[in-house]
């Protein structure tokens, strides 16, 4: 217990409180000016909005991916399985550069999107793409074990009671995945909110348009505006903490029902 607490303090609590202390150097008015400037609010809106959109996309495709990995045998399955974890392992900057190259107007994918009038890089859509990429494994890996544990006999029971396939999936399988799905969704969302490396290459980083909050912190730091950076950081920190708290609450609720 003592060891846990000291490590936790050294590694987590002290740096975090430093953020709060630094931000406290500002008067309330200065804090508000730094943390809630028009530019900062645009950055928050983009960060949370894009993170939410990415988490929603991952929420859908993560379930499909997990389903395919658990229920079907197909050639190259182990490769797909390893690829799902790639965003965990890949340096985020590498992912960012790769995505920017792919989706830029003359990139492999981007050149086909441009004629369709879709601009997939250097704007908010690019941010969403990057955040989707890094968030996918969170959904897949939280759903996978639950789906695997969901014994086939539960589906057979539903079918023998007269439920058709759609009813079985909608009323038995998906609700059973619910808590895990919410957890995966929240994890992907939380990860996306904090993502920096992969986003800045594809985002274009235009203030008020495609500038994310973590980048704004860096910009403030580079201008030696430590207190202002800390103010924005404090807002992000509170948001992250609130989200993790929600994740824990979801898990506790799920444990109570699943037993």
């Amino acid at each position: 217990m003592g060891v846990t607490l000291s490590v936790l303090s050294l590694v987590v609590l002290i740096p975090l409180s430093a953020v709060a202390i630094k931000a406290a150097e500002l008067s309330p008015a200065e804090f508000a000016a730094a943390a809630f400037s028009e530019r900062a609010i645009a950055a928050y809106r983009l960060t949370f909005g894009a993170a939410f959109a990415a988490a929603v996309i991952n929420g859908v495709f993560g379930v499909l991916t997990a389903w395919a990995l658990v229920r079907y045998e197909f050639p190259g399955k182990s490769i797909v399985n390893a690829m799902v974890d790639l965003p965990f392992a890949l340096p985020t900057a590498v992912a960012g550069i790769a995505l920017a190259t792919l989706y830029s107007p003359n990139g492999w994918v981007g050149q086909y999107l441009t004629p369709l009038g879709i601009k997939a890089a250097y704007n908010p859509l690019g941010v969403v793409i990057a955040l989707t990429f890094i968030g996918l494994p969170f959904v897949v890996r939280t759903i996978e074990p639950v789906l695997r544990d969901l014994a086939a006999d539960v589906e057979e029971a539903a079918a023998s009671l007269g439920a058709n396939r759609i009813q079985t999936v909608a009323r038995v399988v998906l609700p059973a995945l619910g808590p895990a799905w919410l957890t995966g969704f929240a994890l992907a969302f939380a990860r996306a909110v904090g993502e920096y490396g992969s986003v800045i290459f594809i985002a274009g980083n235009m203030p008020y348009q495609s500038e994310i909050a973590p980048l704004l912190i860096i910009i403030q730091l580079e201008q030696y505006e430590y207190a202002a950076a800390a103010a924005i950081a404090l807002v992000m920190l509170s948001a992250s903490f609130a989200m993790l708290f929600v994740i824990n609450a979801i898990q506790a609720w799920a444990r109570r029902i699943e037993g």
Binding site: A151, D153, V154, E156, A157, A158, A159
Partner: protein, 342 residues
């Protein structure tokens, strides 16, 4: 609903799970499928349910061919060994599921569903627990929920796969009685799978004994116990001493025991003698030495070895064993033995 299974074959890869199985089940009957693991009993049950489909042969429900009909079309109620309850639904929602998923005119009104659920929970003695989640129930209670969920759709046949397998002995015993009571109350044709011969013999009207994908014998518990059709049935149902030997001129001789073997062909044979068919003394007795006595309630179990060294177990009334001591020579005889050529 009468059920006919006609020459059903089923393979899993190269492994034959069912081999030319035929079985007739009468309306309102309570039938046990009994056999060791791997004997095909669960495959047969799942084939009747429409959860597996045979490679060859026919399944008929009330004369209608349902060989390739789905479980839902057949209106079967299936109870799984591991309950297979919907964990995210309350007990009442679980029971109501089969009625809830119906569509249009078939679907009963909300009030009717609630009424039916209450009736069923009362039938399985779970009234008042409708609001709980499965995780808040004991194993026995969960199996009762699974049973009432299966009964909710008024199935034409109730199928249970090792329904008491995951429960402890006391709960098992009371649920067994409960199943019999529910069967008698609803009159629904019921088939259950078990590897526990005591369960099959104590509960079922008739028992079908399976071994290696084929039915060895079908009969009432008394029939299969008293007149086993094959050596497998004799060894599987009830306790039996197995003695290897030879039959010559209508007499079995093996392990220091001689038994009349009328009508058994000459050659190597196997004799089965039930411990409780052995008596101390009597006509045609054979010699044995007492190795151990253990008293269990009203009876005493005697472990003896014959003059040829075969180990045999006998069960006698406790009073008869009171003055016996270990190492003492005994005379044992039997009026009944089952002898099969091998």
């Amino acid at each position: 609903m009468t059920i006919s299974i006609r020459s059903v074959d089923k393979r899993f890869g190269r492994y034959p799970a069912l081999n030319d199985v035929s079985l007739e089940i009468a309306d309102g009957e309570l039938l046990a499928l009994l056999g060791p693991s791997g004997s095909g009993k669960t495959t047969l049950l799942r084939t009747i349910a429409g959860l597996e489909f045979p490679d060859a042969g026919q399944v008929l429900f009330g004369g209608e061919d349902v060989t390739y009909a789905s479980a839902a079309k057949r209106r079967v109620g299936f109870v799984f060994q591991q309950y297979a309850l919907f964990k995210h639904m309350t007990v009442a929602k679980n029971v109501a599921f089969g009625l809830d998923v119906r569509k249009g005119r078939e679907k009963p009104s909300k009030a009717d569903i609630t009424k039916r659920v209450d009736e069923l929970l009362k039938l399985v003695e779970l009234d008042g627990l409708g609001g709980r989640y499965p995780s808040q129930l004991s194993g026995g209670q969960r199996q009762r929920v699974a049973l009432s969920r299966a009964l909710a759709v008024s199935p034409s046949v109730l199928l249970l796969d090792e329904p008491f397998g995951a429960l402890d002995a006391t709960v098992r015993k009371s649920l067994r009685k409960e199943l019999r009571r529910i069967h008698d109350a609803t009159g629904v044709t019921t088939i259950f799978v078990t590897h526990d011969q005591e369960e099959a013999m104590g509960l079922a009207d008739r028992v079908a004994i399976l071994n290696a994908g084929a039915i060895e014998q079908v009969g009432t518990p008394d029939e299969v116990h008293d007149s086993p059709a094959t050596a497998f049935v004799c060894g599987f149902v009830g306790d039996a001493n197995r003695i290897e030997g030879l039959v010559a001129a209508g007499v079995f001789n093996g392990g220091g025991v001689k038994l009349p073997a009328k009508g058994v062909a000459d050659g190597p044979a196997c004799a089965f003698v039930r411990p409780y068919d052995l008596a101390l003394g009597g006509a045609n007795a054979f010699a044995a030495t007492l190795q151990r006595v253990s008293v269990q309630g009203a009876v005493a179990h005697l472990d003896v070895t014959t003059s040829a060294g075969a180990a045999i177990e006998a069960v006698v009334a406790r009073a008869e064993a009171s003055n016996l001591s270990v190492g003492q020579p005994l005379k044992l005889s039997t009026a009944k033995a089952h002898i099969f050529p091998v």
